[in-house]
């Protein structure tokens, strides 16, 4: 799974801890998602999409999909 989480976070000037607090997850969870080592649950993925006010598929994609991978 690819995602643009690191880019979106950087655009807002948030730290991983800041994003984690907004999503109610740990900084380690944000880091694991950003580096592609952990795929978030569907509820967390929707939460991320809502936070960034974007469709979920613009943030996440499978390995062959369209989101600009951050790995």
């Amino acid at each position: 799974m690819n995602n643009r989480l690191r880019v979106l976070r950087a655009e807002r000037g948030w730290s991983q801890a800041e994003l984690g607090a907004r999503l109610d997850v740990s900084r380690q969870a944000v880091n694991a998602v950003e580096t592609g080592k952990y795929d978030p649950s569907l509820p967390l993925a929707f939460k991320i999409a809502r936070l960034f006010d974007m469709p979920i598929e613009e943030i996440f994609s499978d390995d062959e999909g369209g989101a600009n991978g951050s790995r």
Partner: protein, 147 residues
């Protein structure tokens, strides 16, 4: 960065700090509980060894300590899992799964070999320790790999 962004970051960092504080507080209480129970059980065991037998009062005290330990550990674990996020939960679940499989495979295999009289009877403490060790190693492997 906007002024609002800076203010938001402060708020988020504060929430993050609260979450971490809650996490370590619960973990600290569980560790303290383990230390107290460990000391108490060692004390009771040493007392029993010294006197050669268990006085009724010591038996009752030990039984109360065991029940208190089980209840408080269960309550602490419940509080812990209400605090952690899905990644921590996943780490725990994978650790538990590997620990369970270790038990589920090790015991019957050992038992079957013992029936062939090629090994001694299964040792429950060895199996328990192996299951816990595998669960712990799996948990920390995921923690180190995913961070």
């Amino acid at each position: 960065m906007t002024k609002e962004g800076r203010m938001d970051r402060g708020k988020g960092e504060r929430l993050h700090a609260e979450r971490r504080r809650s996490f370590w507080t619960i973990l600290g209480w569980l560790a303290a509980l383990g230390a107290v129970i460990g000391f108490a059980s060692g004390f009771f065991a040493a007392h029993a060894d010294a006197n050669g037998e268990w006085a009724p009062a010591w038996r009752v005290g030990t039984a109360i300590a065991i029940v208190a330990f089980a209840l408080l550990a269960a309550y602490g674990s419940w509080r812990f899992f209400r605090t952690v996020d899905e990644l921590e939960l996943a780490d725990n679940l994978w650790g538990s799964l590997f620990g369970f499989y270790t038990y589920a495979l090790l015991f019957p295999a050992w038992w079957a070999f013992s029936k062939l009289e090629s090994v001694p009877q299964p040792d429950q403490w060895v199996i328990y320790a192996a299951s816990m060790a595998v669960a712990t190693l799996t948990y920390f492997y995921r923690k180190l790999r995913l961070r």
